[in-house]
């Protein structure tokens, strides 16, 4: 029983990180319809910026987190206005291809700049794990989980309650009408991409101290993020959150009780099964995406 509880707790923490990756991408992929293969690279960028701020500039841990988010958002904004805006009327495959190019370029630039050796981000939390009865969790992971939950909640509130959020939803539901109503379409697109990229960078800065930082860390992150987004329904923030948690727990239980070699396969099989029975994802309403 203790083993099961530990697996569940592990799965929750893992799922929380997947959820954080998913919500950024669900905005970009779900709302803007951009197949952003470089999403994982913003995640990596967040981790490296946090490392640079902490280890090189000696800033405080929480400030470094903020710097990472700002850097991710800024680069995302730049990407959108230089690369995606001119291609806005092209097909989805064209924007996908340009983001593949950005992915390759960013990862190899990082390799060139930082070298392939993994870096570790120092954090101020004690290393001794917190023990709750039969299960244990490291303080830094608990912090990451709590902050991720906070960021997710803040994002949801922004989308639902603020003027910016309303403008975003309007733009992606019906661009022309939104434009007629005075919404600055260009600014909204850039803001959305920056928002999503900033969230990815936050995930990187949060997970960097738990894992390690190296140039190819974003590849797996991208793949999981796409799975979570589609599973939860495109553009659906609560869906992405729940999808992320479910995927994390499923993987953890699969690895624990079936086989660690086939760990990722459990996630894939579950995805296939879900889509077989709920073709629009777990939580989306009726439509399919054309």
């Amino acid at each position: 029983m203790a083993e099961l509880l530990q697996h569940l707790l592990n799965g929750l923490v893992l799922g929380g990180t997947y959820a954080l990756l998913g919500i950024g991408l669900t905005l970009i992929f779900g709302l803007m319809n951009v197949v952003n293969f470089a999403h994982g690279e913003f995640y990596t960028l967040g981790a490296y910026v946090s490392f640079a701020a902490l280890a090189l500039a000696g800033i405080d841990f929480f400030a470094a987190l903020l710097v990472a988010i700002v850097a991710g958002a800024a680069l995302g904004w730049l990407c959108e206005i230089t690369l995606l805006r001119p291609l806005r009327n092209e097909s989805i495959d064209t924007t996908m291809l340009v983001m593949i190019g950005v992915w390759i370029a960013m990862q190899n630039a990082e390799l060139l700049g930082w070298g392939g050796v993994a870096k570790s981000i120092p954090h101020p939390f004690p290393t001794a794990p917190l023990v709750f009865g039969p299960v244990a969790i490291a303080p830094v992971r608990l912090f990451a989980l709590v902050l991720a939950a906070g960021l997710i909640a803040a994002s949801w509130l922004t989308i639902q309650k603020t003027k910016l959020g309303r403008a975003m939803r309007a733009t992606f539901q019906d661009r022309d009408t939104a434009a007629l109503m005075g919404v600055g379409i260009g600014r909204i697109h850039a803001a959305t991409f920056a928002f999503g990229s900033g969230l990815a960078a936050a995930a990187g800065a949060l997970l960097g101290p738990i894992f390690l930082v190296y140039p190819s860390m974003g590849d797996l992150a991208s793949l999981k993020a796409f799975s979570v987004v589609i599973l939860g329904g495109l553009g659906n923030l609560p869906g992405a959150t729940l999808g992320g948690l479910l995927l994390g727990i499923a993987e953890e239980l699969g690895a624990g009780y079936i086989s660690s070699g086939y760990r990722d396969a459990v996630g894939f099989v579950i995805i296939i099964l879900v889509l077989l029975f709920r073709p629009s994802g777990l939580f989306a309403r009726q439509e399919r995406i054309a």
């Binding site: 083993e3 570790s120 290393t127 794990p129 390690l212 660690s260």
Partner: protein, 390 residues
Amino acid sequence: MGNRSIVLLALVLVALAALAVPGESQSPIKIGVIEPLSGPVAASGNYVRMGAEIARDWLNAKGGIGGRKVDLLIEDNKSDPKEAASAAEKLIVRDKVPAIMGAWGSSMTLAAMPKLEEYGVPMVVETSSAASITKRGNQWIFRISPPSEMEALGLEQYVDKLGVKRVDFLAVNTDWGRGSITAFGDMLKKKGAAVGVAEYMEQSATDMNAQLTKIKATGGDTLFLTTAVEQITLVMKQAQEQRLTRKVVTTGGSSSPTQLIKQAGAAAEGSYHIVFFMPWFPEAMPDGKLAKAFVDEWAKRGHPFEGLTEGFRGHDGIATIAEAIRVAGKDDPKAVREALWNVSLMGVNGPIKFEKDGPAGKESGQSKPSIFVVQIRDGKVALPDFLAKK
């Protein structure tokens, strides 16, 4: 035609032109190097490259080989077997190298091997551990790194002193990890230890909590860990979080204990590591002076200390090839191959001399490298407690 298309056409033409330029063949002696310089194991590949460059510079400082400068032609195999084969083809056909060192990972080496036979060019294998590499009857392969079986034999003498009774395995899900589990499992069973579970982790996995939870439940006393240093760091940290208390032995030589101390901290305390080079005690190596000189030169170039446990492979590989070219008297591939059977030199790891391995009549060369065990104690790398207690 549109302006933009002209730009594109120009790019294509430049690309084709570059391809059409014939390779040079002048005075310097060229040695090919194929390593993973990008992708997930870029760090290791680059360390090997750095070691190779030191060997090249030392050779050239002494006048090169037979008065000719040594040139390293370095190719990136991008951690992809297909690229390893393409790189080998390019080095052999375009650049006409007489010998190659590579290709780090076993599947990359295996992919390049048919090219060696096709064109008749020898390759010195500096890192790959799969037994099959020297057992396939490829007469152009000469390996200086130990296959997992040899590594396990190297540890055999210490098994009783370590006090291993019940063992579990956690390895990266590649040929290296799996081969290690088989080799060490067989060796330990022969010594009377009981083998518990064997768990795997994907090469890019960062969360091993599920596997560790399972391992914790077996009640074993030792955990054998085979993977690269980044994953070892994560496993140790997560094991600490799960309060897993047992002996840890890492195999494969890629554990870079210095990096582990830096990044895993207290979580790495007490762990044992099988390494093939001890940069912390260079004088204890078979050729103490050479080892110390290598460590000093590495530091002088500003390379990270933690890379030494892999970088020496690049040095020894190039030194081996250079010695063979010197003995052969010319940089012709077939002559170099003949010479490789006759070389006997001192590398940073120890003596290098090839013995026959594989099917009769089509043997590959396998050297018997030295194998060492170190331990992390009090936050520093030391000789293992069972040895120091003499």
